[in-house]
């Protein structure tokens, strides 16, 4: 029987209250929202916070809105909420690709987007997704809010830039016309962590003027983001492959080379989900597949 160790429990109804409680109870306090990462860790005694500050009741952190060129996702949006969001899927199909294969439907009902990011599990999917998208995290402290790029959010396994006394409140994703995005994951079964996964975001240049390119030829990649999950990629991205893609034709040869570069630069670890060479192979192949789908969606956009 798994039982958490003794803990105090407090509830916050507003962000201000949460920050007050976090200040009062100090660095041994932990924020809980859906609890679907923290409670299992507490049951295994891998986490033993002195106080839980329950923020699930903060109403204004559970919305998804498109405003001023950005998609704003509240930290308390559940995985199911993101999967069901028409506005999120319209701008960034990568969210629906990823959420369809995160945990299982019951867990998705209560686990939150902010909780997943703050848990910072190296095999967690949304870190790669938000990094590929070039998103920004908004972190509230008692002195005000600060904004941190998703790519700088993680400090290491299970560690983020969110300091004791601070609260992740929202994720902001820039909406770029002419973009497409996709996520490809291999897992052993429903509900399991990724063996490996890749997300791609591609913005294509408008067709070149007549005379400069053959009609119907491949579009040119103006900008690309590639996120990698569970393969030890620094900041969850394949920066070298992103660099390679910029300005090149959006065709199979380009995608194949980008996949090779992504595979070459990641550092997977062997575990029960597979050996290093298999994960490296997946990182490359899934990058190619994600790029292919992202580019197709960008053309259709």
């Amino acid at each position: 029987m798994q039982v958490p160790s003794h803990v105090e429990y407090e509830r916050a109804a507003t962000v201000g209250q949460a920050l007050e409680l976090l200040a009062r109870f100090g660095p041994e306090a932990r924020v809980v929202a859906g609890g679907h990462s923290l409670i299992p860790m507490m049951k295994l005694r891998l986490a033993q916070p002195e106080t839980l500050v329950d923020i699930a009741g903060i109403a204004d952190l559970s919305h998804i809105t498109a405003e001023a060129g950005e998609l704003v996702i509240g930290a308390l949006v559940t995985h199911a909420g993101l999967l069901d969001s028409a506005v999120a899927g319209e701008h960034f199909p990568i969210f629906h690709d990823a959420e369809r294969v995160i945990a299982d439907p019951i867990v998705r009902n209560w686990g939150t987007v902010g909780g997943s990011l703050c848990q910072a599990d190296p095999s967690e999917d949304l870190s790669a997704v938000f990094s590929a998208l070039g998103a920004t995290a908004v972190i509230q402290g008692r002195g005000g809010a600060r904004r941190v790029p998703a790519r700088e959010f993680h400090v290491g396994p299970y560690e983020t830039v969110v300091a004791p006394g601070e609260l992740l409140t929202e994720l902001r994703v820039p909406i770029r016309p002419g973009s497409g995005s996709a996520y490809e994951k291999v897992a052993r079964r429903v509900g399991d962590w990724s063996v490996a996964a890749a997300g791609a975001v591609v913005r294509l240049d408008p067709p070149a003027p007549a005379g400069r390119a053959s009609p119907g030829g491949p579009a040119v990649i103006a900008e690309a983001g590639i996120g990698l999950t569970a393969v030890g990629a620094e900041h969850f991205v394949a920066a070298e492959a992103e660099e390679f893609l910029r300005g090149r034709a959006a065709d199979e040869a380009t995608f194949a080379r980008a996949g090779q570069i992504a595979a070459g630069h990641c550092r997977p670890a062997a575990d029960q989900r597979g050996p290093v060479d298999f994960k490296r192979h997946l990182a490359g192949e899934l990058t190619v597949r994600a790029l292919r789908r992202a580019a197709a969606r960008a053309r259709a956009a």
């Binding site: 803990v7 105090e8 429990y9 609890g35 507490m42 049951k43 839980l52 019951i106 867990v107």
Partner: protein
């Protein structure tokens, strides 16, 4: 919290899990305590109308909310169509996963009155049955969907 329509008030330790509150404090043993690791779904109950693995929440987190367990599925002495479907289609053998399966089935039919087989399989994909191979569970939920009061 409100459990199956009745307000239940208890002072509990913050570390008490919702499944143990339901079973040990309230004596409602229909919800089963299975794997204890958020995998099997035997402990699924509806919290504010949405299925949750009750081994993965503290009872305190559900305070003030509405909980529905399998004991609250039937109404006025009549079984819910989902329960009737599990009987009609032999949707269980040992019965351990059944309460959780039925709670998820009820939620699915409330949202999607006429689900495809694929949608049913997706909905119960976070719950494990070691007896039936799922075939009869899927049939039972389809049966409930076809029942006049199914949705």
């Amino acid at each position: 919290m409100t459990v199956n329509g009745t307000t239940r008030t208890r002072d509990v330790e913050p570390r008490l899990l919702l499944i143990h509150f339901i079973r040990d404090e309230l004596g409602l043993t229909g919800s089963h305590w299975g794997c204890d690791t958020s995998n099997c779904g035997a402990c699924v109950v509806l919290l504010d109308g949405t299925p949750v693995k009750s081994c993965t929440l503290l009872a305190a987190m559900a305070g003030g909310r509405t909980v529905q367990t399998v004991e609250g599925l039937g109404r006025d002495g009549r079984l819910d169509p989902v329960q009737q479907g599990f009987i009609a289609c032999h949707g269980l053998q040992c019965g351990f996963c059944t309460p959780g399966m039925m709670m998820t089935a009820r939620w699915l039919l409330d949202r999607r009155p006429d689900p495809s087989e694929e949608e049913i399989r997706e909905a119960i994909s976070g719950q494990i049955c070691r007896c039936t191979g799922y075939e009869n569970i899927v049939r039972a939920i389809r049966w409930a969907a076809g029942h006049p009061e199914g949705a």
